[in-house]
Each structure stands twice: as C-alpha cells, then as structure tokens.
C-alpha cells in the first residue's frame, strides 16, 4: 500500500475572490451612511484582528490600540475597498501595516516578551505556563522566526488562502510557499522522535 502525497490544504489553491455576502451587504450599507452596519463589521471581525495583532505584538494593550486604529483606517478608506475581495484579509493587511508603523514609531520592532496585562501574572510566569501546555503553536513560537510564525498563523489558524496570506504579508505567493515549507520542516524536525 502506498501513500500519495496529499497537497497541503490550500497550498496550491486560492480562494475565490469573493467577499462573503454578509460583509458585502454591510459595506454597502455603511457606504450609504448606515453607521450600524460598520458597528456590525467591528463586532464580527474584532476578535480575529485582535488575535492577529496580539500574535504580532504579544502585548494586549498594544493589540487593542492597533485593532482600534485598524478599524478607524478601514472606515476612513472603506470606499476604496474592493468588494470582490475578502474583508478580513483587507482588515488584516491594514492591521499589519499599522502594527509595523507602531513599532517603527516606537523604534522597537521586536515584539515584547509576553502578555503584560495587569491582571495576569508576570511575563516569565506566563511564558512558562504556555510552554507547559506545549501546543503546536507554542512550539512554533519558540523555534520559528516572527515571519514564519505569522505566515503559518495566517495559513492554518486564520485559514487564509495563499493569495490572501501573501497579500497581507506583503510578499509574493512563491515566497509565502517557501516560508511555509521551511517553517513546516522545522516544526516536523522538532516533533520527530530523535
């Protein structure tokens, strides 16, 4: 019995460039001046934007601020949004650029160590606790570069198409495939029994 290689999910496929109809309708309403429509967009997409930024910054307060700036920019430029594309991909693109600008302004591109919410334990304790859980993502964060982690997160956690992942990360699709391939190999090497 032989096992044929299964294509990595979505690796060579691209999602059809169609925004979900609910998003398209909300955007159309919003452009007509219906403010509640944008409130609904915020409500629907805040968790994903927040989590994406949180994984970039690893700082809750920064993530909240950047998520807020992201939606303000999105609202301001809503008329330039291409309704045939995915809204969440567009929002994450804005979020990424906003986060990069945020770090450039702070002259601190390297993400901070860990969550520093006041109500939670110290960062060291958090890191230790997270490593004990040792999910695949915890391992990925330890061994992968920021960019490799980001690509894997977009592909397999956010379930973005290859095209959207490349667009959000600001690189070509081929480059995205290579980064994802190398990141998978490193993780597989880590998980392989010695």
């Amino acid at each position: 019995m032989t096992l044929l290689p299964q294509p990595v999910p979505g690796e060579t496929l691209t999602a059809p460039p169609t925004a979900p109809s609910a998003d398209a309708r909300l955007i159309a309403d919003c452009l007509q001046g219906e403010m509640r429509a944008f409130d609904e967009i915020v409500r629907l997409h805040t968790p994903r934007v927040f989590n994406y930024v949180l994984h970039m910054t690893r700082h809750r307060q920064d993530a909240e601020d950047i998520a807020q700036q992201t939606f303000i920019k999105a609202y301001t430029h809503l008329a330039s949004f291409d309704p045939t594309r995915s809204l969440i991909a567009w929002l994450l693109t804005i979020a990424r650029r906003t986060a990069l600008n945020h770090f450039r302004a702070a002259k601190n591109f390297e993400p901070v160590a860990e969550d520093t919410a006041a109500t939670e334990p110290t960062p060291d304790h958090n890191l230790e606790k997270r490593d004990q859980l040792d999910t695949m993502w915890a391992q990925a964060r330890r061994v992968l570069s920021q960019r490799e982690f980001e690509i894997l997160w977009l592909r397999y956690a956010e379930d973005m198409s290859l095209e959207d992942t490349a667009r959000i990360a600001g690189i070509t699709e081929t480059h995205t495939k290579i980064i994802a391939f190398r990141a998978r190999q490193r993780l597989m090497k880590l998980q392989a029994p010695s």
Binding site: L3, T46, N51
Partner: protein, 201 residues
C-alpha cells in the same frame, strides 16, 4: 524517522517541488515509491491538522468592551468614509495632462517668425478654436469630478486639491489666451494687405 532528519537529495527536491507547484506526474511517481517521502507527507499532514486544531486554544478573547470602544472611536474620529485620494489625484493629473497637451498642440501649430511672404505659415487655429478647447477642458474637468463624487462641485470650494486644480486650469487658460492674443491673427486680410502692396510697388 531518520529519513526526515536527513533525506536524500531527490527527496528534498520532490518535497520542495510539491510545496511550490503541487503534485506532478514525476513527483507523484517518486512519492508513491519512496517510503521516506510517504512518512514525510504523513507527518506534514499531521502537522497541518494539528496546527489548525490547536489554533482555537491559542486564540485569546479580546476584552468584552473592545468592539464597543472601537465603534465609539470610529464615530468620534471620522465623520464618514471618504473617497480615495488617488481618484482626486488622477483627476488632477488628467486635467493637467490635457491642459499641457493643448498648449503643446497650439504651439506646434503656431508659425515661427515668418521672414518672407512665401514661407509665412497660414494660421489654422482661430480664437474660436481656443475657446472651444478651453470649454472642452472645462467639461472634462466637470465630468471627471462628477465621476469621483456626485457632490464634487460642492466639495470643490473646500478641497485644496481642487483649488490647486482650478489654479492650474486658470494658468492654462491664461496661457492659451496669451498665445491666441499674440500669435494668432485676428484678421488675416489686414496683416497680409500692406506687404502685398509693398511687393507690388
């Protein structure tokens, strides 16, 4: 899984090729007969499945009031979505290009210091043509602005870009007027009359 740790060169090539371009006949044939590659792809599938599964645990809930705070901040920060500034720039660039082209074409058709009656060029552009050209530029500007924003006329008085556009248009109009006044004959008969007399005498 020693094979995964140190695969053969051909296996590495096949794996990279599949990652970049998907399955082809050759790669499929190799993978079907290579136990190392089969183990590799099995592990790869398990990894991707695991990453997708664990993503839910990795996600953190945003604060409960974050969406409400964002919505409030959006309301306070911007009055309403605005049209892309690139559209305005495109309009400006288009009108400027048309004006520049008009000036260029007018200059191309003007006679250059005629010295004799024989090689004096006959002007073919009349002030009426210039006026029509200016009117065309005007109508083009209005049409472009209307395509960008139905209330463009209303915004035109406030938008600095449109004010700049108007000043460029005014410059172009005055340049055309200047050229028409100085270089276009208003009455060709009157200009050629005296020279014809002198030639005759």
């Amino acid at each position: 899984m020693s094979s995964t740790a140190n695969p053969r060169f051909v296996c590495r090539v096949v794996r990279l090729q599949i990652a970049l371009s998907g399955n082809t006949k050759k790669t499929t044939r190799h993978a079907a007969n290579c136990p190392d590659c089969q183990a590799y792809f099995r592990a790869s599938d398990a990894l991707v499945t695991g990453l997708s599964r664990d993503a839910a645990q990795e996600r953190q809930s945003p604060p409960d009031d974050l969406a409400a705070r964002i919505a409030l901040a959006v309301r306070q920060s911007t009055p309403r979505p605005r049209h892309s500034p690139t559209a305005v720039w495109r309009t400006l660039a288009g009108v400027t290009a048309v004006a520049a082209l008009s000036v260029f074409l007018v200059r191309q058709n003007l006679p250059i210091q005629p010295t004799t009656t024989k090689n004096r060029a006959v002007a073919e552009i009349h002030p009426a043509d210039v006026a029509a050209l200016v009117a065309n530029v005007d109508s083009l500007r209005i049409r472009l602005l209307d395509s960008v924003e139905p209330t463009a006329e209303k915004l035109a008085t406030q938008n600095p870009l449109v004010q700049e556009l108007n000043s460029v248009q005014a410059d172009a109009r005055s340049a055309l007027g200047f050229l028409a006044l100085n270089f276009l004959p208003t009455n060709p008969d009157r200009q050629t009359g005296p020279k014809d007399d002198s030639t005759r005498s």
